[in-house]
Amino acid sequence: MQNENAVTYGLVNKEVIEPLFKPSLAWAAIFAVDLLILAFGVYCWSYQLEWGMGVAGYTPPVFWGVYITTFVFWVGIGHAGTLISAILYLFRARFRTGVYRAAEAMTIFAVLSAGLFPNIHVGRLWYVYFLFPYPNQRLLWPNFKSPLVWDVFAISTYLTISSVFFFVGLIPDIAAVRDSNRNPIIKKVYNMLCFGWRGTDTQWRHYMAAYGFFAALCTPLVVSVHSAVSWDFAMAQTAGWHSTIFPPYFVAGAIFSGCAMVITLLVPITKIFKWENYLNILHFEAMAKLCLLTGFILTYSYIIEHFIGWYSDNPYEWGIFVDRATGQYDWIFFMMVACNCVIPLVWWFKKVRTNLWGLWLVSIVINIGMWFERYNIIASSLAHQFDPGAWVLYVPSWVEIGIMVGSFAWFFMWFLLFVKLMPAIAIAEIKEMIKPPLSTDTEEAA
């Protein structure tokens, strides 16, 4: 808090809760457009369900494409939230407080989007329940040795625990919203949502203990989820995927893209809701620095990946890396390197990373770059597999692009609803950052 002395407990409540429940015309317009795009995405999916997976541009042996690319992209986005809220909570990083609620919400919605994609992607959606372990008369169970089942476990655990963590964090703030609102229906609903929270000493005591444990549980989970996603690739034999570097590389990439997405989302919100008291250039700069760090890890991973491909003298490995850089997908490779390795370097200049435009634009570039990184890994490796007799070119179809765009609309739908219905800044925790009101202060002032 730059000016934490000027902020009082009451002011926090007022400023954070004020923008809720009053949809502006702009908000309504954006929400309407968002719903339209989402409807198109839903149409694309139903079209695909009706006609079969073939309406997507899959070109065997490219069996994974835009859907898995977008899945990994959203899982990656989903990383920043829990990272910020859990790991930074344990490390007591001060800049976390203003950012974490929105970041966590972003996580949940990103994982919700990500969770759609395995369903969109499978050939027989109507049998997708086979992937879950449940007792059945056939005595059949999933294959716990498959990375996809690890994914099922990792993603569903991550979604469950993050949601619980997110919701537990929200309870006192929902109570605050309830108390500040006069509408009896909202009061009633929010009272139910916060389980009648009143902030008694017993409640706070167990709450805080549990919150610490959640943070502790989420921390390894953050690392494990994207590692599990990376194992989808690393555990496969496919050249360009089969690499031990993948888990750290993917986790770094996830944090990179997640932090970028936080910047992308929070810069406009801060401006619109006038939350400079709680979210300001210092927070964004800290996020940008985190991006710079993870961006460097990512660049290093790219270099190492290519170096090992060359050094191994394995024609398949090296073939794939040469093909990525010079083959039919060279422009994707170029996008990836430009957006992830080169352009973010402008954040080394303090002028850029303390300028909201500089932050916002580069963060969007990073998000685009990270999508292309996943596309680069998935499509190019599969289009250029071991057997030269099966080398193809995969181009996505409009159905795939429609569903991908629809997933963004799905994500933003939740986020738009969230900022209007829930306090996007953690009221109680902001208060913890503020010096508590003491009788001595009053005396001094007097």
């Binding site: 009706e50 006609w51 541009g57 909201l356 159905v399």
Partner: protein
């Protein structure tokens, strides 16, 4: 700081990028060659059966009532023992392929004619029904009797009657004791679900009887998915 004039420009750039990417998209026409290369759709709504298709309700393992058969064939009269007032015929007299083929076989009209040409049908409904088929078939080889299927094995299941019969599995181990039933029925426990097959697939006493020392291996093989799935 974001300004009012800057925002549309940014969106325009993003939109342009999206459009240029989308223009590279594949457009897959699934319906262009319906005559030559038909593709079936999976309707999101329940299928609509044309009026001329008879349907019946079938929910999972629930034992369904069987539709009326064209002839009210009395299994009990044919199959129950002579002491019980039946004819004591063996199952394989009519279902004669059970030992030879994967289908047990439904007898040709010819088989019925063998005895029923000497039996006066008058007054008995089932026999009258049969008689019309025999008369139709007779010299002119008329239409076969359109029996209604009682058990429907899914297409992806490989089931071979002869393997089971030759191994010493009795007909009544799976089918109801037809000497006690009239028209063909489904035994209540014969759910035709995988779990039901598994109940005795590796456990049936015939495994020990037939394979002796190799029985353990054979039991494992009997649980191989490829034993029953194709």
């Amino acid at each position: 700081m974001p300004s009012a004039t800057g925002t549309p420009r940014v969106w325009a750039v993003i939109l342009l990028g999206a459009v240029s990417f989308a223009s590279k998209c594949e457009n897959i026409d699934v319906t262009s060659n319906e005559d030559s290369f038909p593709i079936e759709t999976h309707s999101l709504l329940p299928p609509e059966y044309p009026d001329d298709v008879e349907t019946r309700i079938s929910v999972g393992s629930v034992v369904q009532p069987v539709d009326p058969q064209p002839i009210e064939f009395k299994h009990d009269v044919h199959a129950s023992s002579v002491e019980d007032g039946g004819l004591g015929m063996s199952c394989e007299y009519c279902h004669s392929n059970a030992r030879k083929s994967k289908h047990a076989g439904v007898p040709p009209t010819q088989t019925c004619v063998g005895c029923h040409s000497m039996i006066d049908p008058s007054g008995r409904e089932g026999l009258v029904q049969l008689d019309t088929y025999i008369k139709e078939s007779g010299e002119n080889y008329g239409q076969p009797i359109p029996w209604v299927k009682v058990h429907d094995i899914p297409d992806f299941v490989y089931f071979n009657h002869s393997r089971h019969v030759k191994s010493g599995v009795e007909c009544t181990d799976c089918h109801a004791d037809m000497s006690k039933h009239g028209v063909a029925v489904r035994a209540p426990d014969m759910t035709m679900l995988m779990g039901w097959c598994l109940e005795c697939h590796a456990e049936h006493p015939s495994v020990d009887a037939n394979y002796g020392a190799d029985a353990d291996l054979r039991r494992a093989e009997l649980k191989d998915c490829y034993t029953c799935h194709q």
